[in-house]
């Protein structure tokens, strides 16, 4: 069947990538890109750091300028998709408009897990997900004197570093016992804890937020579950995200933590694909088990894979996951997935803030976390993408260097 109309719901990193890659692949049919935020599609990672610090402009945030969409004949629709009629292959929008599709791509992403404690609706309490969030937050960050960050994940810590750099007193409340516990090894958590403390950030681990204290509708502090009180004129939370599944649920698609897709990113309906934060895909780097990843790399590479399939070049999605976060002067880059890691080998020195942690599972390298050692990260991405696998014994040898091993073990 000829493909004349591709409709993409969600104009974030993944949805945008599908549209751009379709044109790069030579697809000439209609593309409708539906996004529920105003303005042109933009990148989210700088929102909690470079953009907030004013280091990059709103224009630099854009994936492409306005002309691009006209020149490439991509119809950008500012609306919300409210229903999918799979029998008639039609998407209904909040405005009442309907859009017909030959193929539908669901790229709705995720929304912030809300801070559901008393006082969370007060002025001065923020999550950071959209440009509007960052625009509202930016002027307050400059004035804030006491900042409480809830959650020591990537976004929370990126923001903590920004607030500390602006001279605020920063407290981070975290339910776990270390920073970024879900994402990195103990060794790397420790480096980040020390670095943040050096910038003046205070951590309160194993502490949940009980409620937000307010004065005249504005935040003035927080009280932890244990009753500890902290002053705050600004509270920012980053406690995870929830995939935007409503549309897919109501359409009756298979769901398992995310919209379930096969190895080519096709949902349980052959006319619908899904990708990015909202999709759960069988990951070859996760023993083929379903995995939902929240990352730029995942959205970009999956977007390319879907576009390639739609122009007749299907292939299983096998890209190696990688991640990054920039916090103050630290750049953390992660290649691979460290799930089930049972041993580590450490390269570099934490006191210099240059450290790579090699994560092994059953004597096979599965992930490499690098802080301010980008050369290691680049080598790791090559090593992890293909056999042979590096063993802990090799990595523990005196003078071992990832890039030397990589160069010596190419095909």
């Amino acid at each position: 069947m000829a493909l004349n109309s591709v409709v993409i719901v969600g104009a974030g990193q993944g949805g945008f990538q599908v549209a751009a890659s379709l044109r790069q692949e030579g697809y000439q049919g209609n593309i409708t890109l539906i996004g529920d935020e105003p303005g042109l599609p933009y990148q989210r990672p700088p929102l909690s750091k470079a953009y907030l610090l004013g280091k990059i402009s709103a224009t630099a945030l854009l994936f492409r300028p306005k002309d691009f969409y006209t020149q490439q004949n991509i119809e950008l629709v500012h609306d919300q998709a409210v229903a999918v009629d799979r029998n008639n292959r039609q998407v209904r929008l909040a405005s009442g408009r309907t859009v017909d599709y030959d193929h539908l791509v669901l790229a709705m992403g995720a929304h912030n897990r809300p801070l559901s404690v008393p006082g969370a609706e007060a002025q001065g309490v923020f999550g950071i997900k959209t440009k509007a969030d960052a625009d509202a937050l930016a002027p307050l960050v400059k004035e804030a004197r006491n900042v409480v960050v809830v959650g020591a994940g990537f976004v929370g810590l990126e923001f903590a570093a920004v607030a500390a750099a602006n001279g605020a007193t920063v407290h981070v409340l975290e339910l776990g016992d270390r920073p970024m516990a879900r994402a990195v090894s103990r060794e790397m958590s420790e480096l980040f804890r020390c670095a943040h403390e050096g910038w003046g950030v205070h951590f309160d681990f194993r502490q949940g937020i009980g409620h937000i204290l307010t004065e005249g509708g504005k935040v003035c502090g927080v009280e932890t579950v244990e009753g500890k009180r902290l002053l705050a004129d600004l509270v920012v939370y980053g406690i995870g995200v929830i995939p935007n599944l409503q549309l897919a649920l109501e359409a009756g698609l298979d769901i398992d933590n995310g919209i379930t897709v096969d190895s080519t990113l096709l949902t349980s309906d052959p006319h619908i694909s899904s990708l990015g934060d909202v999709a759960a895909f069988p990951c070859i780097h996760n023993d083929q088990k379903l995995l939902r990843l929240e990352s730029v790399q995942n959205a970009v590479d999956q977007g390319r894979a879907i576009a390639a399939r739609l122009v007749g070049k299907p292939a299983p999605y096998t890209a190696l996951p990688w991640f990054w976060t920039d916090q103050g002067t630290l750049k953390l880059q992660i290649a691979g997935l460290s799930n089930g890691c049972d041993s580590t080998v450490v390269l570099g020195a934490p006191e210099s803030n240059q450290l790579s942690v090699l994560c092994f599972r059953q004597d096979q390298l599965v992930a490499v976390e690098s802080c301010n050692r980008p050369g290691d990260h680049m080598a790791a991405r090559k090593i992890l993408a293909r056999p042979p696998r590096l063993t802990p014994a090799e990595a523990a040898a005196t003078g071992f260097e990832l890039k030397v091993w990589e160069a010596a073990n190419r095909d």
Binding site: R23, Q24, P46, Q297, K331, P374, K382, E406
Partner: protein, 106 residues
Amino acid sequence: MPTLTFIEHSGTTHQVNGEVGQSVMQAATFAMLPGIQGDCGGACSCATCHAYVDEAWMERFPPAEGTEVDMLDNVTERRANSRLSCQLVIAEGMDGLLIHLPASQY
């Protein structure tokens, strides 16, 4: 508005409009140029915007530092004039800037 010239590995030439203050990577991706990806959006985190600055233009840019140097260590076919184009900011007087593209970003 400075015009940039990109020459693909195959020899295909592209003229691209750039803006002062924009990165060479952005000028390339805005123009849908094949061969420059810029997956991380310019955070110097992915090394998918590797390019060769024509020798005649090399000195117009501040030399690579820190993260960029280390990232470049592992790009395919690194040369003396290799740069990550997200770190190259287009300045006044760069009309005619000549950039050569590698065969692959991987």
